[in-house]
Subunit: 309 residues, 2 copies
């Protein structure tokens, strides 16, 4: 096998009360990439479609993570990468993570899996750090493992797979405005009140319990973010209105996807997820802002091999 085509899924990070540590994986939204073993040493990006991104390895998220892995194994051959980008950069649904993960996942398959999934994360977060100015793993872990993932710690790297209740669907709106992750980090406070922190970990612990016990009522009362949302929601046009109508339409919880501008609503059952899509559509179609809406199951598998040669 000298060539592999893979699907690298979009992901939702933070998930309301799980800021910086929780993520989950989407089913039908993501990038495709081709990774090819070639005689020429090094990493080269040979094709990018969908969005205007740099071809230089050291300026491209997929290139940086690929190079980090390449430098570790130092093989006597090289890799070419083709990127078919569907997830818009800066959308808040793990665009950079999909790129960062795709290259190293594909290379690892071609090399007959010398690295575990957790080890791949170490390379992927090098790519992520190019986009985010800091090493975060919530999106890359969700893309690589699928399902819900809890990044317990980055050093040492500890990733936990959290069970996914069967009826869980998500509706995501991506308003076509750009929020830079670095900007949405900059507006966060360095200190938070102890009372709010206690509320947040009570909610987060309860959310983890609710996922283990398939307790949808508890998800509803746990999916609240008292720490980050008050700051970042101001960057997203019509955020409060979207939140209100989605909760009225039956969403279990609505929050900012990653650092925004995308907004996610977790729902019990596809019917509710579709109703939630409809009410968001009603709100956003009046705003003059272009947008996409997705309805998805939680993707339990994460990365997918599409074909090999």
């Amino acid at each position: 096998m000298d060539e592999i085509k893979i699907f690298s899924p979009a992901t939702v990070a933070n998930v309301a009360c799980g800021f910086d540590v929780l993520g989950f994986c989407l089913d039908n939204i993501g990038d495709e990439m081709v990774i090819r073993k070639v005689d020429t040493k090094g990493i080269s990006i040979t094709k990018i479609e969908g969005f205007d991104l740099p071809f230089q390895t050291e300026l491209n998220v997929a290139g940086v993570s690929a190079q980090a892995m390449y430098d570790t194994i130092q093989p006597d051959f090289g890799f070419e990468i083709e990127i078919y980008k569907n997830i818009k950069p800066g959308s808040g649904i793990g665009s950079s993570a999909a790129s960062a993960v795709g290259s190293v996942f594909g290379m690892n398959e071609l090399l007959k899996k010398p690295f575990t999934t957790t080890e791949l994360i170490q390379f992927a977060i090098k790519g992520e750090s190019l986009a985010n100015n800091c090493e975060v793993a919530d999106n890359v872990a969700a893309a690589l493992f699928g399902g819900f993932t809890l990044v317990k710690s980055l050093s040492p790297l500890e990733i936990l797979k959290i069970p996914v209740p069967n009826e869980l669907f998500v509706t995501v709106i991506h308003p076509q405005i750009e929020i830079k992750t670095s900007d949405s980090r900059a507006i966060l406070p360095k200190e938070v009140s102890l009372n709010n922190a206690i509320t947040q970990w009570a909610n987060f612990g309860s959310l983890i319990h609710s996922l283990h016990t398939e307790n949808y009522d508890l998800m509803r009362t746990s999916l609240h973010d008292v720490i980050i949302e008050p700051y970042r929601s101001n960057l997203i046009p019509h955020y409060n209105q979207v939140k209100n109508v989605t909760l009225k339409a039956g969403a279990l919880g609505t929050g900012i996807s990653g650092s925004g501008p995308s907004i996610f609503s977790l729902c019990q059952g596809v019917e509710t997820a579709n109703n939630v899509r409809d009410v968001i559509h009603q709100v956003y179609s009046k705003t003059g802002i272009e947008f996409d809406i997705y309805v998805s199951k939680i993707n339990l598998k994460g990365m997918k091999v599409l074909n090999t040669n």
Copy 2:
């Protein structure tokens, strides 16, 4: 049935990363109380053994919670309460909670259970607030439900029962010094760093996951408190030394029980729990401070009826 004798267990609250929301119940340490239906209306405390506590209903934790329940039901008879106190007040293992819970649990049994366990908590926290100057439910919930309990919210009252891994034991040392809960609250900061808060909820979510999955290794890396311990540990003599020797002896985690001065170590298996007891004994027997040490299984049932008449 006009008289009931009950066992009201000691409890550990906070449990490292679960400050203010998590608690668990001890097996063989606790108070005994007799509750008796009598013709004379009202609540009267007729006997207190073990420690010098007030007989006036409104100054006694067990009296305040009993009165709160009594005022709600307004029966045409009354209750007498006898308290056989084994848990020293101010020990940090839920002394006031055992009193607050015991009276209302016993009354509820005599009345043929008009209230659910969760409803009893509402009365018990009135008693707790006499001791703590604020309404907290982490100890009373653990005493009433047994096992591990997560107080998700006080208003509305939401208590979650978290699974208890089978091999879990706890060693508790109670140094015979007094720390007032109100004092140990006063030294806490009003604000905490966002980074520490993130670490705390990553640990707390991981701890909940580890209890569901019986993952003892994960308990070991999750039982850390980066928020409260740095402040409160200064109030407890030889805290760091106890922590060091217990972790070396194999404890999964060591932390402050409630607001101290008691220190708990969660352990996998009774053998490790006994070893941990021995190393604590070595440290504390040199200090000149009197102390008790307990080794206990996690009490899965909570309150116990000893006999009825």
